[in-house]
Amino acid sequence: MPSVIEISGLRKTYRKLLRQPHNALDGLDMEVAAGQVHGFLGPNGSGKTTTLRALLGLIGTDGGTMRLFGEAVPRRLPHVIARIGAVVESPQFFRHFSGRLTLQLLAESAGLAPARVDEVLEQVGLRDQAKQSVKGYSLGMRQRLAVAQALLKQPELLVLDEPANGLDPAGIHHMRALLQWLAHEQGVTVLVSSHLLSEVQQLCDSMTIVSRGRRIVDGKVADIIAGHSGSQLSVRLADAGQIREAVEVLVGAEGGVSVAAERERLVVTGAPEAAWVTKTLADAGLYLSELTTETKNLESVFLELTGTAPQAGQAVQVGQPVPGTEETPAAAATAAETAIGGDQR
């Protein structure tokens, strides 16, 4: 499948007087294939919005290349912009204009048919509020209006930054159905940046996870989650006092197996299979009371890959790495490559 978005080695450094330069993007790579809903995930400050801004020509970059529909941007952006609908950051509009007027002005500026305005208002569920001033809109309604303006051009590529922000559960469901319909029925490629991991898990076909301005992993959502699940076993012993002995037995029995003792249970990773744990412990005279396979969700994969998983006894600020895991993104990427499936870079 051809790539609609190709980003390679993208760099962006923000410089301010009397402040340390901040590398928002540090050699980011990303590819989005046509006709897919692609999730763009990363902790706060990881460079998602910066990437989208750069892609849409709102900010300059300090290195790297970007292509949209095979055309180099931002130089050729005016030639492909008619094929792109986008919402970057929180949707903001002139407060005193109605939703319809806001869309009419945009449609007029691009020479689109006025009838298209009512079509997109209907699509996003804002038909009845179209005459209201935007200042009376809730955050969710503004979000819908933003998506409506992105849909006005009947784009081949839809770029949405946190589209579910402010939406209620029904709104999220509606938005998900709309985006999937656009991608799978209309052939629109959709790039969605989001913090709502469960939403991405339900909505997206593929995804790219970034951290500190670099790609950590990309691939199909199912492959990335599968690459992280199944190898972690939770073990409880009939006699909790034998936990230390069990750790020694398991670690000594096979290389590559790591065992962590957590209160009254063991967490075993890298074991060939669950039966091997049962047999090894039984042979040593240690008997199990419980053995479960822990399946990871996208959230745990995301937290693990971006190094933002909370640790017992350690306070971690949102978007900041866990103390002691502050390896470079490159190192994190390398570690991830050896640990999981999917296309880790």
Partner: protein, 338 residues
């Protein structure tokens, strides 16, 4: 062209545009009403009768005074102070009476009638209307662009139109068209109202060929000034990316800036023509077409004049406008949006 039309609609549909429009028309109507009620083609019969009565009374009092040499010296005279007055006291008695009671008063001396002369005063009012309209459109243009930056609308628009020069050009063109239409409309309305006022309540005067030529030249240059002000207002909003910054710079210059220029003007003995420091001097020269500045020799008292022409003023004011427009263009093209 589509973008230009959309920008024109965007600025025309703003509430502030409607508000400023109503404000400008309202102010024009108030000005016309003041002229209407203050102006008169001549005194009425009642005015003439009252004036005649006052003139007769004054003349009678003068004659009484002139006929009585002891008029001021009488013990119960309320004018006993005249004899001790250093000026009146030295005058011959009759002259003092004439000074005091307006000897030989005529009814015209007691008629206070203002007649609005359109051919002389109307042009100044038209120039004032054009300048005020220009100021309002300057603020309107700055507000429209500033509000788009602060509301996030500008970034949104750039996602639709990534060619920034095209966006800036469309916005500037829309503001200039609005300014031209607003100034023309206000001038036509002001001309009609003031001419009507002069026709009914005053005097239209002599509006011959030379008058039209001179008036159209001055009003035309004022309209061009209004367009330049709109460019500067738009450029300031584009540079500051906020209405308040553009408005602050404009109001700041008009108040503090000119105040500082005045201080410098009074304190700068080394500058031969300190009036050149004030922008108002150049604006005046531009509108009037010619302005004479004098340097008085402190020893001989002789004048060394300097003449500013409309060309001189146009070059300076045009350069200022181009600098702001150029900075705004460069800034918009190069700076990150958001």
């Amino acid at each position: 062209m589509n973008l230009f039309k959309a920008e024109l609609h965007r600025i025309a549909r703003r509430r502030l545009t409607l508000l400023f429009g109503l404000l400008a028309v309202g102010a024009l109507l108030v000005m016309t009403a003041i002229m209407w009620f203050n102006s008169s083609t001549g005194p009425s019969g009642a005015d003439l009768a009252a004036a005649q009565e006052m003139a007769d009374a004054a003349n009678a009092q003068y004659e009484t005074c002139a006929a009585d040499e002891d008029y001021f010296a009488a013990p119960d005279s309320e004018y006993s102070w005249v004899e001790e007055d250093p000026v009146l006291g030295e005058m011959p008695h009759e002259q003092a009476c004439a000074e005091l009671f307006w000897g030989d008063s005529q009814p015209e001396d007691f008629i206070y009638v203002y007649t609005f002369q359109f051919d002389q005063e109307g042009v100044f009012l038209l120039i004032g209307v054009a300048i005020v309209t220009g100021l309002l459109v300057m603020l309107l243009a700055a507000s429209a662009i500033g509000a788009e930056w602060s509301s996030g609308g500008m970034a949104n628009l750039m996602v639709w139109h990534p060619n920034r020069l095209k966006v800036w050009g469309a916005k500037l063109a829309a503001a200039l068209v609005l300014c031209a239409v607003a100034v023309a409309a206000m001038l036509v309305l002001a001309f009609a109202l003031l001419y009507l006022t002069a026709s009914v309540r005053g005097d239209t005067g002599t509006m011959d060929g030379p008058w039209w030529e001179h008036t159209l030249a001055r009003v035309g240059r004022t309209a061009v000034l209004a367009l330049g002000m709109t460019v500067i207002g738009s450029a300031l909003a584009m540079l500051g990316r906020h209405t308040a910054i553009a408005g602050g710079v404009i109001v700041g210059y008009l108040t503090v800036g000119e105040l500082l220029v005045t201080f410098v003007r009074f304190g700068a003995s080394g500058i031969k023509y300190p009036d050149l420091l004030s922008l108002y001097t150049w604006i005046g020269a531009w509108i009037e077409g010619r302005m004479r500045l004098d340097h008085w020799d402190p020893v001989t008292g002789a004048s060394d004049p300097m003449v500013l022409t409309a060309t001189d003023a146009g070059l300076l004011l045009g350069a200022i406008m181009l600098v702001f427009a150029g900075l705004a263009t460069w800034s918009f093209a190069k700076r990150d949006a958001a």
